[in-house]
Every structure is written in structure tokens, then in C-alpha cells.
């Protein structure tokens, strides 16, 4: 490739294009990679969120629309109706005499049905032969936006939201502080019988909650904590095996060089924790915090048990169950409540994303 002497290294009009090819190729390749990966992720996401779309759509319907959408349109619509003889009558698209007309179904029948013209309800009846169930109704867009207001008022949503947030956030603070301390002990200190103690820690996760339900409730009852939030918050200030296990694993990923550097500088164990370990751990700390919040947000049975008879103390997870009464379940209201309840944790997750971006973590080598 000929390079004109003195020509600039970047492409110019009229100059040599000799140097442009690698730039273009790399640029195009870059865009292709961005595009492919993003597209792939979008496809996976779409499949993944399909049930969420069902949830969203259901929250804007009422019971009749949910039933209708089992075989009909999935969006919240109502069949168009007109008043004929004092009652509301649905309108269908009827193929009759070679064209498709919109007619109101007055008397459905197995082999033939009677329609009238919706513009002229009192006028002549049209008899149509065929199965009316094969006809498509005319639909009107009708989302039930009132569901959210109904839920907001129906279960005293603001109060329940406050209760949930209080329980979740205080528990989160407690669990973060205590679990970081305990995990630090397991990860960095030469304790006698450490392996055995760690297995005991793991062992406490194994027994399901239901196994310990009765003695735990009896214990809290004996010390007078039933009817309060204390059983739901205080135990988290004493570390929880899931989080300790996770944090210990994470801390053991961190090389000791920085610890030792700080210790040589005269830092005590507490200083090492706060200025060396913790700054390297923001992602996992945020993960643990979120984990606790979501857990507390949706924990249902123990909050119910300990706030029995105190509806003013109940969290959202108990409130939402009111729409789940076995003889009149209201799935649209359940979904509306769930959506409203999810806003805070999801928003929290979104705004803490910066802790998961590369570069936020000081891994020492690139400080």
C-alpha cells in the first residue's frame, strides 16, 4: 500500500486511505460484538420475563377479563356492548351475506343465533346460522387501572409498606455489621477448632425453619416478644449463617498482601477490617444487604405468627395474603399488590448497580 509521504495517518478525503482499513475493521467488529451480545441478552431476557408480562397484564384486569383472556386476547379489553331491551348485549364480527358486519348478539343458540344492528337496536332481527362461539367479539381497550388504587386503600398499603421497610432496613443494618465481623473472624483469624465451628455454622442452615418453629415461638412467647417486631429483627443482629458463609468465601478470595501492608503500617485488626477488607468488598456487601432486604420483604409466615392480632404491625407480605382467600381468590389484586410492593427493592437494586461496575473495587494491584 502506497503511503504518500507527509500524508496524515488518518483518512482524509483525497488523501490516502491506506491507514483506514484496520480502523474501520476494528470499529465494525466492535459494533458487531456490541450488537450481537446485546441482542442475545435481549432475547434471553424476553424469554425470561414472559411470566412477568403475564403478571403485569393480569394486574390491569378484573376477574372476568382474566377468564376471557384464557382463550381470547391477552391485553385487558372488554367486549363492546350495546343496550338492547334493557340489558347489555355483546357485539361480534359476523360474516353475513359475503361481508363482515358488527352485530349485537341478542339470543345465542347452538346452530343459529339472533343478532340486531347495534345502530338500530329496536330494528329488524338478523338470524345467523352457525356457531356463535367461533365469532370474534369486538373489543374495547379497558385496563382496570383502579386495581392499584383499590389495593392501596384496601390493605392500608402505606402503613404496611412502612412496617415492611422498617423491619427490612433495621435487620439489614444488623446483619451487615454482625455478619461482616463474624466472617472476618472465620476468614482471617487462627481460632481453635475453627473448622468445627464453621461446620456448626453450616449445620444451623440445614434444619428447615418449620422444624424449629414451635420451640422458637415458645421461646419468644416466654420472653414476651410475641406481638412485637423484636423476633423479626433482633436475631439478625447476631449474624446469620447464609451471609457469614458467603462473606467468608468472598474474604478468602482477597489476597493477604494488603492486610499485611496495613498491619506493617501499624493498623490493628479493626482498622484492617474497615480500611482494607470492606473497601474491597462493596459488591458482596451490597449483595448481602439486598439479599436481606428481599428476604425480609417477602418473609411471610413468621411475621404473621408474631404479629397475630396486631394488624397495625403487619408487613406487606401478610397484607397481600388477604386477597388469597381460598374461596374468592383475586389474582388481579394479588398481582397489583405484588407489583406495588416490588418497586422499592427493585429501585434499590437499580441504584446500587454502580457498586458492581468494574473499577469500583480497589483490588490493590490497580490502586
Amino acid at each position: 500500500m502506497a503511503v504518500a509521504r507527509g500524508a496524515p495517518a488518518y483518512p482524509t478525503i483525497g488523501g490516502s486511505y491506506a491507514n483506514t482499513a484496520p480502523h474501520y475493521r476494528r470499529g465494525l467488529r466492535r459494533m458487531g460484538l456490541y450488537g450481537t451480545v446485546t441482542l442475545f441478552a435481549s432475547l434471553v431476557l424476553t424469554a425470561f420475563l414472559m411470566p412477568f408480562a403475564y403478571m403485569l397484564v393480569t394486574s390491569f384486569k378484573d376477574r372476568d377479563q382474566i377468564v376471557a383472556s384464557a382463550t381470547g386476547p391477552i391485553l385487558p379489553v372488554d367486549p363492546l356492548t350495546v343496550e338492547v331491551g334493557g340489558r347489555q348485549v355483546p357485539v361480534y364480527r359476523v360474516p353475513i351475506d359475503g361481508e363482515v358486519r358488527e352485530l349485537a348478539l341478542v339470543r345465542p343458540g347452538r346452530r343459529e343465533s339472533v343478532f340486531v344492528d347495534p345502530e338500530d337496536p329496536a330494528g329488524a332481527e338478523v338470524v345467523w346460522e352457525g356457531a356463535w362461539r367461533t365469532l370474534k367479539p369486538v373489543y374495547v381497550w379497558a385496563p382496570r387501572t383502579g386495581n392499584f388504587a383499590a389495593v392501596w386503600n384496601g390493605i392500608a398499603f402505606p402503613r404496611l409498606l412502612f412496617n415492611t421497610a422498617f423491619i427490612a432496613f433495621t435487620g439489614m443494618v444488623g446483619t451487615l455489621v454482625s455478619c461482616v465481623m463474624v466472617a472476618y473472624a472465620f476468614a482471617r483469624f487462627p481460632l481453635p477448632f475453627k473448622g468445627a465451628m464453621f461446620m456448626v455454622l453450616i449445620a444451623t442452615i440445614i434444619l428447615p425453619k418449620q422444624v424449629l418453629l414451635v420451640p422458637t415461638y415458645a421461646f419468644f412467647d416466654a420472653i414476651g416478644w410475641t406481638g412485637t417486631w423484636l423476633p423479626l429483627i433482633v436475631p439478625h443482629f447476631f449474624a446469620n449463617a447464609f451471609n457469614v458463609f458467603l462473606l467468608r468465601q468472598y474474604f478468602m478470595q482477597l489476597p493477604r498482601e494488603l492486610d499485611e501492608a496495613a498491619m506493617i503500617d501499624g493498623a490493628g485488626p479493626l482498622r484492617v477490617l474497615t480500611s482494607v477488607i470492606v473497601p474491597q468488598s462493596y459488591p458482596v456487601l451490597v449483595a448481602v444487604g439486598l439479599f436481606h432486604i428481599v428476604f425480609a420483604w417477602n418473609d411471610y409466615f413468621e411475621p404473621l405468627l408474631y404479629t397475630l392480632g396486631r394488624p397495625d404491625l403487619q408487613p406487606l407480605s401478610v397484607g397481600i395474603q388477604q386477597y388469597n382467600f381460598i374461596y374468592s381468590q383475586q389474582p388481579h389484586l394479588i398481582q397489583a399488590t405484588a407489583l406495588l410492593g416490588m418497586v422499592v427493592p427493585v429501585a434499590l437494586f437499580f441504584f446500587t448497580q454502580r457498586f458492581f461496575m468494574r473499577g469500583i473495587v480497589i483490588t490493590g494491584v490497580e490502586k
Binding site: 446485546t38 441478552a41 431476557l45 425470561f48 420475563l49 403475564y54 403478571m55 393480569t58 384464557a70 454482625s178 465481623m181 463474624v182 473472624a185 482471617r188 483469624f189 487462627p190 481460632l191 465451628m197 461446620m199 456448626v200 440445614i206 434444619l207 428447615p208 418449620q210 424449629l212 414451635v214 420451640p215 422458637t216 421461646f219 443482629f237 447476631f238 458467603l246 468465601q249 468472598y250 474474604f251 478468602m252 478470595q253 485488626p269 474491597q280 459488591p283 449483595a287 439486598l290 428481599v294 420483604w297 417477602n298 411471610y300 397481600i320 394479588i334 398481582q335 405484588a338 416490588m342 427493585v346 437494586f349 437499580f350 448497580q353 458492581f356 483490588t363 490493590g364 494491584v365 490497580e366
Partner: protein, 312 residues
């Protein structure tokens, strides 16, 4: 570690002792909590297993020795439920370990545009409360009117009866479980952030491909968290309860295929009120899980890499 080796064997050095004291200080919240909140209920449930404690007749409880444990060997549902858990594990465990890693890798890729949005949307289903999720999945997986089968029908594939067919109920449960992958991928992501970028740069300079970098740097470095996911998945399998219980109303249908061990325990204790035998079931669950967990921990030395090294 250096304190002891440097000064040889014999009395622990002052430095080591000081380290231990600090260790206890930091460990104390758990120790206190364990003694205050955890140990008593655990011991109580152990005691229950040696009695005929009935929930609705707490006053007439009496000691029955090992009767409940003997019953474990003749109870047909014990074999059934352990078999159910094992068969489900064969499908669910590999998927539950591999997919969070794959998803975290995808959502960490530098070629992905709009990472905060993608990550939030993949995380979001994890936040859906169980009562709402059950309705969603019963709706989506219904053989006639569910969206999944309607979509399959659109492309000409006849969808199976996900919830009532013994061959498809486990895939259905796995699909439902995958929806809650948010937490697992999040902590894997967090773990990936801790891998020093210098390693990747060095590897790139050496000419390693993206896959080689992933296999030889990322995977070993995040193996502690993969280990965490694996242990929790095994424990979670034995504790698996809410979703199958609500879907099958505790009957174990279709057939016996959703009679998971924890459901058997729950029905024994809270439907049949037989807390004595129920506690024995719970401790059997404990022993089995501890064995598997112990094996996992033993195997860890072969494949889990701790950058910090073991602390002696």
C-alpha cells in the same frame, strides 16, 4: 500463621494469642446469638424426636426412646421422598450451578450495552412474593390456557401438561426455580468484581482467548462463591418446600413426584400434628444433608481456590 512457624512449636506466641483474642471478639455476635436464639430450639427439636409429642396435646407428651427413629426405616414415604429429592437433584443441581455463572458472565461482558437495565430486569423476578409467583406460574404453565403452551402451539409444538405429567413436572419446577436466579447471579457477579483486572491484562498480553481467560482466571478466582452456591443448592434441595407444596396442595401429585422430604416433614408435623415423628424426620434430613455437605467441604480442597490461602 507466620507467628507460630517463626517461633517453632510449643507455647503459642503472644502474637498468636492476641490474634486469637481478636478472633473471638469478632466471632462473638454469632456465638452469643447461637447460644441465645439457636441452640435451644435445636435441642428442643432433638428432644421432641424421642417423644410422642402431638402439637394439639402438648400436655400428654411422653418419652418413647428410639421408636420414632425405628419408624424411619419402615415408613414408605421416607424412601419415596428421598427418591423424589434425588431425581429432582439430578436435573436441578447442574442447571442451578451452571446457569448463574453463565448469566453473570453475560451480564458482566464488556460488550453488553445498558448493563444496569439488564441486570435489574434479570434480578426483578427474584423479588416477586411467593403467593404472587404461584398464581403467575399456574397461569403460565397451564396446559390449556397457559402462555407457555400457547406460544409453543404458535410454532407448532404441542406443549405438555407441565403440572400434571410426571415427566414434565420436574422441568416445570426447574423453570420456576430459574426465575429466582437473581440472587445467585448477583453474588457470582460480586465475586467476579473481586478478580484483579491485572490478571486479565497479563493473560491478554500473553495472547489468551476470552474463553481461556474465563476458564483459567475467572472460574478459579470465583470458585469460592461457586462452592457457596453448590453447598446452598444441596441444602436447599433438602429444604425445598413452598413451591411444590402449594402447586400440588401437599398431595405430592402428579403421582408421588412432588412429595419432597420437607413436605413429608411438614405434613407429619403440622397436618397430622405428629411432631415427635416429624422431629425424627427432620433429624434424618439433617444427618443426610450434613453427610453431603461434609463431602462437599472435603472435596473443596481439590477445586476451590482461595487467594488468601488457608489460615492455620
Amino acid at each position: 500463621m507466620s507467628a507460630r512457624t517463626a517461633l517453632g512449636r510449643g507455647k503459642p506466641s503472644p502474637l498468636l494469642r492476641e490474634q486469637r483474642v481478636w478472633g473471638w471478639v469478632f466471632l462473638s455476635p454469632w456465638v452469643i446469638g447461637f447460644l441465645a436464639f439457636t441452640i435451644l430450639p435445636i435441642l428442643a427439636s432433638l428432644v421432641f424426636s424421642f417423644t410422642d409429642f402431638r402439637l394439639t396435646e402438648p400436655e400428654s407428651v411422653s418419652f418413647v426412646g428410639l421408636d420414632n427413629y425405628r419408624k424411619l426405616f419402615v415408613d414408605p414415604l421416607v424412601k419415596v421422598s428421598l427418591g423424589v429429592t434425588l431425581r429432582f437433584a439430578l436435573l436441578a443441581l447442574p442447571i442451578g450451578i451452571v446457569l448463574p455463572v453463565a448469566l453473570a458472565a453475560l451480564l458482566d461482558s464488556k460488550w453488553l450495552v445498558g448493563k444496569p437495565f439488564f441486570r435489574t430486569l434479570f434480578y426483578m423476578p427474584y423479588v416477586v412474593p411467593v403467593v404472587s409467583a404461584i398464581f403467575i406460574w399456574q397461569g403460565v404453565l397451564n396446559a390449556q390456557s397457559g402462555w407457555l403452551n400457547r406460544l409453543l402451539r404458535l410454532v407448532g409444538v404441542p406443549g405438555p401438561n407441565w403440572l400434571d405429567d410426571v415427566n414434565w413436572i420436574y422441568p416445570a419446577l426447574v423453570i420456576i426455580g430459574l426465575w429466582g436466579i437473581g440472587n445467585a447471579f448477583l453474588i457470582t457477579l460480586a465475586s467476579m468484581q473481586a478478580v484483579p483486572t491485572a490478571f486479565y491484562e497479563a493473560a491478554r498480553v500473553d495472547g489468551a482467548s476470552a474463553w481461556a481467560r474465563f476458564r483459567h482466571i475467572t472460574l478459579p478466582m470465583i470458585s469460592p462463591v461457586i462452592f457457596y452456591n453448590l453447598v446452598l443448592a444441596v441444602i436447599g434441595l433438602m429444604r425445598y418446600f413452598e413451591v411444590p407444596f402449594i402447586l400440588s396442595n401437599g398431595t405430592g401429585r402428579p403421582g408421588d413426584s412432588t412429595m419432597f422430604f420437607n413436605i413429608h416433614f411438614y405434613k407429619t408435623s403440622f397436618v397430622f400434628f405428629d411432631m415427635g415423628y416429624g422431629s425424627a424426620l427432620a433429624w434424618l434430613l439433617f444427618v443426610i444433608t450434613m453427610v453431603f455437605t461434609g463431602l462437599l467441604f472435603y472435596s473443596a480442597r481439590y477445586w476451590v481456590f482461595y487467594a488468601a490461602g488457608e489460615v492455620r
